[in-house]
Symmetry: C2
Subunit: 335 residues, 2 copies
């Protein structure tokens, strides 16, 4: 079947592009001498996680225990502060797979008795993570199985990069002085992996988006249009309003995440159109030429992770054909 014959809206992944993206990131990590532990929250699909592992990834990164429960990988990093209520499920997971958890407070570290832990360091974004080397040491002391440190994100700008490098250095020095050897220094995110130099002493990275890329990656010049493996097939459903068409995909298909730095809701393939407004099932598209009801239009979504998370099924294939579909097995696994 031709992908253009899919009923819309439909998510479609080009397998050639997906495989190339996975292979390239793996090669880049080999060249850098760091391990790759992809964040699988981007796709939530067991088959894609397996492709990443087969290409050489050392394990997977997840945000939620529920994701790990349905995705493969013998070595799982839960990149999230994990509280008591989730420990029974975590311990169950740890019976069959090697499990590590990132922590940023001493009480949580103590609750994780017997589990390998990484101490999270805030390298400048102000979300989670120890604020100082002293705090990092305090948390490490509460860990029963300290394995190293964890930071997020990697950096696109030079100033942020320098700050993060200095912070990591000072934390590692303080930990070493207190007798803690960080075997793992886990850094992450696609923007950094695709563009900036690697923070020294990093041993593994956790990019997610690189499997698909998206309109935000494109706007940040991290990839070309040809690297965008995930596309949304949509149909023009109304041309009633002049200079505009409406497509059958809105925030329940794309999510409400805007293209970072641009403020639109997706990148159109083959059209110089913009989409500045969405309702739940309507995309308002400013057009610069003819559009007629029934036209099929391909859109690269603004944020691939958020888009995939809205769908139960994604089609895949090569050369514009549909070869099959995957279930988004970890979709909605918020706990």
């Amino acid at each position: 079947m031709d992908a253009l014959d899919l009923d819309t809206p439909a998510l479609y992944v080009d397998l050639d592009v997906l495989e190339r993206n996975i292979a390239r990131m793996q090669e880049q990590c080999r060249a850098w001498g760091v391990a790759l532990r992809p964040h699988v929250k981007t796709h939530k699909i067991p088959e894609i996680a397996q492709m990443q592992l087969d290409a050489g990834a050392i394990g997977i990164t997840v945000a939620k225990v529920g994701e790990a429960e349905v995705l493969p990988g013998d070595d799982v990093l839960v990149a999230y502060p994990l509280l008591k209520a989730k420990l029974p499920r975590l311990r169950d997971l740890a019976k069959r797979r090697r499990v590590k958890v990132a922590v940023d407070s001493a009480p949580v570290a103590r609750d994780l008795e017997g589990i390998e832990t990484l101490v999270e360091i805030d390298v400048g974004v102000g979300r989670t993570g120890a604020q100082s080397p002293e705090q990092a040491v305090e948390i490490a002391k509460a860990c029963s199985d300290f394995q190293g440190i964890f930071y997020w994100p990697s950096w696109l700008d030079e100033a942020g990069f320098q700050t993060a490098c200095a912070k990591i250095d000072s934390v590692l020095d303080a930990l070493a002085a207190a007798g803690f050897e960080a075997k793992i220094v886990s850094g992450g995110s696609t923007p950094g992996a695709a563009k900036t130099p690697l923070i020294p002493r990093t041993t593994e990275i956790r990019p997610g988006t690189y499997v698909f890329y998206d309109a935000s990656s494109l706007a940040a010049k991290l990839c070309s249009e040809a690297d965008c493996a995930l596309r949304v097939l949509t149909t023009v459903v109304s041309t009633a309003v002049p200079s505009q068409c409406v497509i059958d995909a809105g925030s329940k298909t794309f999510s409400s995440d805007q293209t970072v730095g641009v403020g639109t809701f997706g990148h159109f393939i083959g059209h110089r159109w913009t989409m500045r407004k969405l309702n739940e099932e309507h995309g308002y598209v400013e057009i610069d030429g003819p559009a007629k009801v029934g036209d099929k239009v391909w859109v690269v979504p603004s944020h691939c992770c958020a888009t995939v998370n809205l769908h139960d099924e994604i089609w895949y294939g090569r050369d514009g054909r549909v070869d099959g579909s995957w279930k988004v097995a970890a979709r909605g696994r918020v706990r």
Copy 2:
């Protein structure tokens, strides 16, 4: 079980509030002399649709055929331009239930041969719908079973309301002059139903949000906090950054829809906290007092429709107890 013992993040509906919201809107419609045809995209839950029907709703409104396929109601309005690819499923639905479709172009109206249609009128928002009375008549002529007209949204401000009233009047007059009797004048949305006067000659309205209300309804003064039936139970997972806590709910729990007019991502119950930034699984909360890791916090989401659409299951109960859960049966039914 106490709702506070739910693992988080978790969506919880207070049944007393839900029942009161459903009853009040039904009473309001009776007082106005219009029928209520609730838009069930808000909840996507068969049991809630049934409560609305039991209270007196004449049928349901959906955006997608896939929603109608799993939600009850003998009389279904598909409030969306429906193209050829979906007609087999629509005709199948029409064998068992009365089905109407809103259309805004003559070719689409012709494709819907044998199906009851409402001609959509753009009353000022510039999304879909006939732009002029002449266009409305042209589309009506293409309908094999013209039943009336359809508009969206209702209006909060006086100028928008006057424009919409004038437009509806001129369209109905033009249609009557061309021999088309509009038995149905279908208007809609919760903001209008809750606040503005009804556009004259309207025969039915299609509010959705009123079952739950949300932080946007609250900001627009359409309801009080006590009317917000849907709440998200979250847990503080990090307090590492001063003057901030992070909760275990981000854009994959709440969606990225902001509270309309306010620019935050939810309303906190019992705290004067604000949340101005979300990542996928992290909510960044500005706090004005103590917060500790493990604290459970209730949040009214910015946009209930988008929030529910991210979840497979919603718990419900009375007086803070959990009495059961509903499956969000039409979640992800984008086609």
